[in-house]
Amino acid sequence: MRTLVINGSPKARNGNSEVFIKQFIKGREASYEVCYAAKEDSRQIAEHMKQFDTVIVAMPLYIHAMPGIVMKLIDCMEPAAVDGKSMGFIVQSGFVESAQSKYLSRYLSALAKQLNYTYLGTVIRGGSAGTYMMPEKMNRKLFQQLRMLGERFEADGSFDAEVIKELARPNELSKGKSRLLQFFFRLGLGDCIFWNMMLKQNNAIDRKFDMPFVDELLAE
């Protein structure tokens, strides 16, 4: 069984989706072909995927759904002419809770049905904005889980429910957790540290709250 993996990240080889795919197919590269939505023509990919029994799309969450380039690819997809094909998705988001991706997973489940594919499920991982920048040891557990997902997929062609559940934690923020995170936010701690550090590196920290388009309106 050969599987087509579509990397749906606008950053192609330079983003988190690539890191996720690499772990998922680690040790089994021969059974997979990887293509890039950002680098190839949507119509050609939609045509090419017809040759495969299984298609997996890995992508970042953009505005509660797939990136525009992935929807442009979906715009070109046609229902499978034969039964028995399957389709699965791997979504990673910056927001920490996986419930943020539920609008997308609901749609992807309906999409698979619409395209006459068996829906393998949507693997969701939150808090992943900086995965590709992190030192390897900080990603150790995540990588183990992704490799296990890949291994089990190879064995029986499905996404392991237990691994999906593990990766999706936390699904929602508890009251205590969101209060704590809000407390950190007010102090400029937590993920603010990461953003401020990057802004400083770019000499843009003084301009971080800029409102350029309202400034232009006022100048007119």
Binding site: I63, A65, G68, I74, E172, R207
Partner: protein, 193 residues
């Protein structure tokens, strides 16, 4: 769900010296309402002060570079939407005519949604009990969506409508109307009011 009105009290922790009225956000008395139209279908004559016609313009895709957050705050590396951003921030209401594709917003409209991220800050607030980006600007327009296209089931239609509501909730916009375009003739009078 928390009404958008309760969330608009989030403002960046700086003062900008700009009052709403100077931007034309608050109209008093008989001044006409400012309106922006985004369309990928529908042939309606709706008075507006800016149209983004997606049947004629291809909006450049978001590249995921984060420049609009971390290098040139508030500005995208692409310049093709600069006039649109200005109109969006200077309007009371945005009307979107959306062409449903495969049960969802089309790729072109989704790209436009992706490109709205410069209007928000990278910082995340948890005040509502879940992650939400902090607004960059003080006010965002009200949104109305009219869509053209069929759904295989009520659940499929809900997926589309819920997604639109969720998106504009996160964008700090009031969005009460998400309706099929077939109902629009009844509403044109209301829209034009």
């Amino acid at each position: 769900m928390i009404p958008a009105a309760e969330l608009t009290d989030y403002t960046p922790a700086v003062t900008h010296g700009a009052s709403h009225s100077a931007l034309g956000f608050q109209y008093i008395g008989a001044r006409p309402m400012k309106r922006v139209v985004i369309r990928e279908c529908g042939e309606f004559e709706i008075p507006c002060h800016y149209i983004l016609d997606l049947t004629k313009t291809i909006v450049k895709d978001c590249t995921g570079c984060w420049s609009c957050w971390l290098k040139t705050p508030g500005r995208c590396v692409h310049k093709d939407l600069d006039e649109f951003y200005k109109a969006y921030l200077d309007t009371d209401k945005v009307i979107i005519f959306s062409k449903v594709s495969h049960g969802f917003v089309s790729g072109s409209l989704k790209t436009l949604f992706d490109r709205m991220i410069p209007l928000f800050l990278p910082f995340i607030t948890y005040k509502s009990g879940e992650s939400m980006h902090v607004p960059r600007y003080e006010k965002y327009p009200e949104i109305e969506v009219y869509y053209e296209g069929d759904f295989a089931s009520i659940e499929d239609r809900n997926i589309y409508e819920d997604y639109i509501h969720r998106t504009f909730y996160q964008f700090y916009s009031k969005c009460e109307i998400v309706k099929p375009m077939t109902q629009i003739s009844l509403d044109l009078e209301e829209i034009n009011r």
